[in-house]
C-alpha cells in the first residue's frame, strides 16, 4: 500500500493515527509495530513469505545485536546473511526464477546492516527491547523506501519524541506537499516518458529523445522527493524527525555535488558504511579511486540486477573521478560550463538508469545524437507531446529549483497556505480517484 493511494489516506492513516494518539505514550511503540506489520501485510498479502523474511531478519539482527559488540564473526555472519538475502533476491529475478524482490528489502536490510555495524563498533548500545527494535525497523513511514536513518538517532527517538498538535499540523503540511509532487507532477510528467517507450526507443525523433529524458529526470526526482516528503510528514505526525532526502539536486554544479543532494540518506549510508571503512580518501590517490569504484559499483548493484545499473554506476564513477582529477576546478570557476555540463550528464546518467536493455540503450543514444539506431516515425512528435506536456514540464522544472520552497516557507502556516494545501489535497484525491494506481518508482529498487 503506497502513501499515494486512497485506502492509505482515508482508511489506514486516520485509523492508525486515532489508535496511536489515544494510546498512552508507553504503548505507542507497540502500536507502531503492530500498525507497521498490518501496513506491510496489506502490501504483501499475496506473498506472505515476504513478511516471514522480514521478521526472520529482524529477529536475527536483534538477537545478534545483544552479543555483537566487538564480535567480528557475528558481524560478518549478520552482514553475509543480509547481503545474501538482498542480492540473492535481486539476482533470482534476473535468472528467471519468477521470484519478485520482497517489498522494502533493499531499505530494511540496509537499516539492519547499519544497526549491527554501529553496535559492533560500539557507537550505540544494542536495543534491549524487542518491541522497540521492531518499531525501529518496521516503522511504516520509512519501511519501504526510506529515508534510511542513523540507528542511534532512531533509537533515541523511540524513547523520546514530541507528539503534539504542532507535529500533526506540520506533518499534514509536508505530507500534502509530497503528495502533490507525486500525484500532480511526477505522475503527469511520467506520461511523457511512457509515451517515448510506447513509440519505441528507435522510433522517436532526436528532440523527442531529449524531451523524454528531461521528463524521466523530472519524474524520478519529483516521485522520490515527493515520497520522501510524505514519509517525513507521516513521521512528524507520529512525533519522529526523519532526515531530509533531497536538497534540490538539479541545482548542483557537479556530479559530486549532485550526489550530496540526491537521496542523501543512501549516499550517507554508503559513505559511512562502505567508503570510510575502506579507507575513504586517506590511503592515497590510487586507493581513493578504488574505494570510489567499489562504492559506485555497489550503488549500481543495489539499485538493480540488470547490466544497465552496473553501467550507470561506472558512468558516475567515471564522472566523479574526472571531477577529482581537475575537471571539478573548472566547474567551480564557471557557472556556464558547470550548468551545461550538468544539463548534459544528468539526463545521460538517468538514461542508463531507466533503460534496462543494453541494445535499447544503444538505440536511444543513436536517437539522442541522431547518428543511428532507427528513424523517427513521426518527425514532429516532440511538438505534439511537447505541447501536451509543456505546462507540467515547466512547473516540474520550477519545483526542482529552490525558489518555490523559499516562497512556500513564507506562507506555509498562513491562512493562504492552509487554503492552498486544502485545494492541492483535493485535486490530488481527484487525480487518484480517476487514474490507475501509479506506484512509487523506488518501490522497484
Amino acid at each position: 500500500m503506497g502513501f499515494n493511494t486512497l485506502p492509505f489516506i482515508f482508511i489506514f492513516l486516520p485509523v492508525f493515527l486515532a489508535v496511536y494518539y489515544l494510546m498512552p505514550e508507553r504503548l505507542r511503540n507497540g502500536v507502531l509495530t503492530l500498525g507497521s506489520l498490518v501496513f506491510y501485510l496489506l502490501g504483501t498479502w499475496k506473498r506472505p513469505w515476504c513478511l516471514a523474511l522480514l521478521l526472520g531478519l529482524m529477529a536475527l539482527t536483534w538477537l545478534s545485536g545483544r552479543k555483537l559488540a566487538g564480535s567480528k564473526p557475528l558481524l560478518v555472519g549478520n552482514l553475509l546473511v543480509l547481503g545474501l538475502c538482498l542480492f540473492g533476491f535481486k539476482y533470482a529475478g534476473l535468472l528467471g526464477s519468477g521470484i519478485a524482490l520482497p517489498l522494502g528489502l533493499s531499505f530494511y536490510s540496509f537499516q539492519m546492516a547499519a544497526y549491527v555495524i554501529d553496535v559492533y563498533r560500539g557507537r550505540m548500545e544494542p536495543e534491549e527491547c524487542p518491541v522497540s527494535y521492531a518499531a525501529e525497523i518496521l516503522m511504516f513511514p520509512k519501511l519501504l523506501s526510506g529515508p534510511l536513518m542513523d540507528p542511534a538517532d532512531l533509537k533515541a527517538q523511540m524513547y523520546r519524541r514530541t507528539c503534539t498538535l504542532r507535529e500533526l499540523d506540520a506533518g499534514l503540511r509536508d505530507f500534502i506537499i509530497g503528495l502533490s509532487m507525486k500525484v500532480l507532477l511526477a505522475n503527469q510528467i511520467g506520461g511523457l516518458w511512457r509515451q517515448v517507450k510506447t513509440i519505441g526507443f528507435e522510433s522517436v525523433s532526436t528532440p523527442m529523445a531529449w524531451l523524454g529524458l528531461v521528463a524521466y529526470s523530472l519524474q524520478l526526482y519529483l516521485d522520490f522527493c515527493g515520497y520522501s516528503w510524505m514519509a517525513i510528514g507521516v513521521g512528524e505526525m507520529l512525533g519522529f524527525r526523519l532526515p531530509r532526502n533531497f536538497e534540490h539536486p538539479y541545482a548542483a554544479r557537479s556530479m559530486r555535488d549532485f550526489w550530496r543532494r540526491w537521496h542523501i540518506s543512501l549516499s550517507s549510508w554508503f559513505r559511512d558504511y562502505v567508503y570510510i571503512p575502506l579507507g575513504g580518501s586517506k590511503k592515497g590517490e590510487g586507493r581513493t579511486y578504488l574505494n570510489l569504484l567499489v562504492v559506485w559499483l555497489f550503488t549500481g548493484l543495489w539499485h538493480g540486477s540488470t547490466l544497465n545499473f552496473l553501467l550507470w554506476g561506472l558512468f558516475l564513477f567515471a564522472l566523479i573521478s574526472l571531477e577529482r582529477l581537475g575537471w571539478g576546478k573548472v566547474l567551480r570557476r564557471s557557472q556556464v560550463i558547470s550548468r551545461l555540463y550538468m544539463l548534459l550528464v544528468i539526463p545521460l546518467s538517468w538514461m542508463l538508469f531507466a533503460i534496462p536493455s543494453l541494445k535499447d540503450i544503444g538505440s536511444y543514444i543513436g536517437r539522442l545524437f541522431a547518428f543511428s539506431g532507427g528513424t523517427a516515425v513521426h518527425a514532429r512528435d516532440f511538438l505534439v507531446y511537447g505541447r501536451q506536456y509543456a505546462v507540467v514540464l515547466v512547473i516540474g522544472l520550477l519545483v526542482s529549483t529552490s525558489l518555490p520552497e523559499k516562497l512556500w516557507r513564507r506562507i506555509r502556516t498562513s491562512p493562504l497556505g492552509t487554503v492552498l494545501l486544502l485545494v492541492l489535497f483535493w485535486v490530488c484525491v481527484y487525480c487518484m480517484a480517476v487514474a490507475t494506481n501509479d506506484p512509487f518508482m523506488y518501490f522497484s529498487f
Binding site: 486512497l6 485506502p7 482515508f10 486516520p14 494518539y21 507528539c163 503534539t164 498538535l165 504542532r166 500533526l168 499540523d169 499534514l172 503540511r173 511512457r194 517507450k197 510506447t198 513509440i199 519505441g200 528507435e202 522510433s203 532507427g374 516515425v377 513521426h378 512528435d381 505534439v384 492552509t418 494545501l421 486544502l422 489535497f425 483535493w426 484525491v429 481527484y430 487518484m432 480517484a433 480517476v434
Partner: protein, 311 residues
Amino acid sequence: MKRLEPKQRGLAVLAILLVATSLAATVTGLVLKAQLQKYVGGWEDRLAIAVPFMLLHDNTDLRRMEQAKQRSQDEPKQPEQPTEPEKPAEPEQPTEPEKPQVPGVPTELPAVVPGAQYGEDESFFDDALFIGDSRMVSSAYYARLGKADYFTDVGMNVFQMFSVTASDDNFDATDLTTLLQNRTYKKIFIMLGINECGYPMSSLLSAYQEDIDTLKRLQPDATIYLLKVYGVSRSVAEGTSYFSPQRLQEINDGIAGLADGKKVHCLDASHLYCDDEGYMKEEYTSDGVHPYAKDAALFAQWLCQQISGGR
C-alpha cells in the same frame, strides 16, 4: 496528545478542514454509490470517497442512472428494478449462420471494394473517418491513410464517443456530432472497446449500438467498419482480469453481432499483433497495450489489403 494553549489552536485548522471535507465527500460518495449500484451496477468495489470524483471525471454512469430512474418512473407497474434496467435486447444476429472465424479475415465486407495500396494509392481513404481510442491515436500519428480524418482520443469509449472533443491535423477541437454534421464520409472505421472491458456486456453493446445508430442517422451514406478489440500482452492480461483473451473474445463476439453485413461490417486485426492465444506479442509493445509506433503501419497496410479484397 498534549493540550495546547488557546493561541495555538490555529494549528488544528488544517486537520479539521481535512476531516470535515473528507466526511462530506464520503457521505456524498456513499449516497451516490448506493444509487449507482441500484440502477446501474458495477460500483460495489469502489471506495465511497472516490465515487464523486469518478463521476466528475466521467458522468456516463450518472446519465445512465438518470435514464434508468426515468424509465422506472415511466413503468410504475414493474415490481422490481433490475440492476441493469437498460439491458438491451440480445444483439442482432447475422442473418446467415455463423461461419468459423478465421483470424484476420473480415466477417463481412461489401461485395465490391476499390483497391488501395498502402504508401502508394490510399485515395480510397480520402473520404474516410477513423474513430477510436489511444490505439487509433497511434494510427493517426504514425500511419495515416490518404486524406482521412481521425477523431481519436486517449481513453475514448463507446459511452462517451459523442460527448468528448478531439482535434486532428485536419480539424480543430470539435465534438463528433458537429464533425459529422459538417463533413461527409463514405467510410467510418471505429476502434473502441479496450477501455470498456470492465463494463457489463449488455450496457457496452447497447451503447455501441446507439453510437452506430447515431452515425447512420448523421451519415446515412457511410459504410461503417467495426474493428474488433485485439489483445493485450500476457503480463497485462494477468494483472487485469477483464483484459483476458476470453473476455475480449466475448466483447468481440458482441461487436460482430452489431454488424449487419450491409452497411455495418466487422474487421478483425488481432493476428497482426497477437499470438494464437490472443495475447499481444512482446516484440510489438512496450506497455503491453499499444503497438510500437513503427508497427502502426502494419495495421494501415493490412486495412488496405482488407478493403481491396485481399490484394
